[in-house]
């Protein structure tokens, strides 16, 4: 019960795993956890909304709806009952990408539990990235790998979908497999990339790299600020 001296406008009452905390309203859930005294070793990674480590579920007082958040991207709200799901057990198939085929049968062979999807859509409802998870599972099931790769593209593999699935699927690994199959077997090869790799192998940039590694920090910072991307 910190910040008792702060006004109600600036604080929010939240419940972390059932325990009541008064925290500043400006904080993200992740900061609020730390403010409340938790030291986060797991369940916290990039703090930028990309790594998927801080998947959080919560309910608002008096509302049956189960909500979701990335703790690093979501501000606290008054009346939040929350907990983090930093890890959820998931079975990952081991495969050699050179030996696969971009077909529904391939996905079924590696993740046969895909047939246990009953179409409840719980995965989609819990996704903090607003991905149509069930739709990409179904696209994979009917062999539309390109569509499955496209829909699942923004997945950060937080695992909340797997935590909610009554069919015990691990959706995000199916999405990952589809994106890999798409990249390797369906998407057109990027010729410019192959060209650049050859340039690197041929030593085109060796001198520049040498120069950079020997450069003093001040000059290096100067150059960094002048990159094309900054202009």
């Amino acid at each position: 019960m910190k910040a008792n001296n702060e006004s109600n406008q600036e604080t929010a009452t939240i419940y972390i795993m059932g325990k009541k905390h008064l925290v500043p309203k400006a904080l993200t859930i992740l900061n609020a956890l730390e403010y409340a005294g938790y030291r986060l070793i797991r369940g916290c990674g990039c703090r930028g909304g990309f790594c998927g480590a801080c998947g959080t579920v919560y309910r608002m007082q008096g509302d049956y709806k189960l909500r979701n958040a990335l703790a690093c991207q979501t501000k606290v709200e008054d009346g939040m009952y929350l907990t983090q799901i930093p890890f959820y057990p998931a079975n990952k198939a081991i495969y050699n990408m050179d030996e696969l085929e971009p077909t529904a049968q391939q996905i079924i062979d590696l993740y046969p539990e895909i047939f246990r999807c009953v179409g409840c859509n719980s995965c989609t409802k819990i996704c903090p990235q607003d991905i149509q998870v069930m739709d990409y599972v179904n696209a994979a099931l009917r062999g539309d790998i390109a569509r499955a790769a496209d829909i699942s593209f923004d997945c950060i593999m937080c695992g909340l979908c797997a935590s909610r699935c009554p069919g015990e699927l691990v959706q995000y690994y199916i999405g990952l497999l589809c994106r890999r199959l798409y990249a390797k077997y369906i998407a057109k090869p990027a010729k410019h990339l192959a060209g650049r790799v050859n340039e690197i192998k041929d030593g085109k940039f060796d001198n520049d790299i040498d120069e950079l590694t020997k450069m003093d920090t001040v000059k290096l910072k100067e150059l960094y600020a002048q990159r094309d991307i900054e202009k």
């Binding site: 179409g119 859509n121 539309d144 569509r147």
Partner: protein
């Protein structure tokens, strides 16, 4: 209703096999309906209908995917059509359950957070042809009548049973497929086994039993004069064509019989690109019959079964 078809958006739910194993069923349907000036709007990102209508009344979850498809369809039109007999069976019965069973309707709507009352019409393409197009109009659009092929119309189970819910046709002696085949110029052969079960999903574990069923059906069709059969269900097609080798292996007196999706024959009759018919994917080569169609001359030659066995990829 039949006068202004081009303004009517019919929503099309393909279902899992129509983009893969039964691609010709879908392609010939879409192209044929274009020739008949009927717009089809294919749903995007549809999910599996779950294939089998749940028999336990409290299995609400089993109805959720079909209900979602119906609700998705409602956004695009008031008529939903699908070709696969299993999809058709599940969608029509789910819609019926939503219309007639208040508890099911309430639970599904609560779960899906919707207010669907079953107002989408689930129609089979054969019903659309009869009611919205009319078999007379279909007949008038035929450019290559299937004059010389004696076809047995095979209905199977899922289109017509259970009759109280499906309300498709006379459950004992259905005629809709017969009428369709007549309108595209086929010589229709009535045979008593046209509503027998082909063995359905038993193919997964009971090939021998399916071979018996398929032998009985095809032999009965032949005994009554059929040279080929026409059907609408991808699973019937799988059991009767793709795995016809099971019959030839077990019954030495059996000679192969071609099997067509009714839409393939419709496509041929309406003059669509024959490549869409996917006859190269048929295990029983219908080539000789098709030649006879084009030459408009009878042939008694036997057709052949291709040797390469195909396995059911999704089972």
């Amino acid at each position: 209703m039949a006068e202004n078809n081009s303004d009517k958006n019919i929503v099309y739910y393909p279902g899992c096999t129509l983009h893969t194993w039964a691609k010709s069923l879908s392609d010939t349907f879409i192209e044929s309906f274009k020739k008949l000036d009927i717009n089809l709007h294919e749903l995007s990102d549809w999910s599996c209908c779950q294939a089998v209508f749940p028999l336990a009344r409290d299995n609400i979850m089993g109805l959720v995917p079909a209900a979602r498809i119906l609700i998705q369809a409602r956004e695009h039109g008031d008529i939903l059509t699908t070709l696969c007999s299993f999809c058709f069976n599940v969608l029509r019965r789910t819609n019926n359950a939503i219309q007639t069973d208040g508890e099911i309707r309430a639970k599904l709507n609560a779960y899906l957070e919707e207010d669907y009352t079953g107002d989408v019409h689930v129609l089979h393409p054969l019903e659309i042809l009869k009611v919205m197009v009319g078999f007379d109009k279909l007949k008038s659009k035929v450019t290559k009548p299937c004059g010389n092929i004696k076809i047995g119309p095979y209905y199977g189970c899922q289109l017509i049973r259970p009759p109280k819910e499906m309300k498709f046709d006379d459950p004992e002696d259905p005629k809709l497929l017969d009428m369709f085949l007549e309108s595209i110029g086929c010589e229709v052969v009535n045979f008593p086994f046209k509503v027998e079960c082909c063995g359905s999903y038993q193919i997964v574990q009971g090939e021998d039993m399916v071979a018996d069923r398929a032998y009985a059906i095809l032999s009965n069709a032949r005994k009554n004069g059929a040279e080929a059969i026409a059907l609408s269900c991808p699973l019937c097609f799988y059991n009767l064509d793709t795995r016809q080798n099971l019959i030839t292996q077990k019954y030495t007196d059996f000679s192969p019989m071609p099997v067509f999706y009714f839409t393939e024959l419709m496509g041929m009759a309406l003059g669509i690109d024959e490549g869409l018919c996917g006859f190269d994917k048929h295990k029983v080569d219908p080539g000789i019959l098709l030649e006879s169609l084009q030459k408009s001359s009878d042939t008694q030659e036997h057709v052949t079964v291709k040797n390469d066995q195909n396995k059911l990829g999704v089972n």
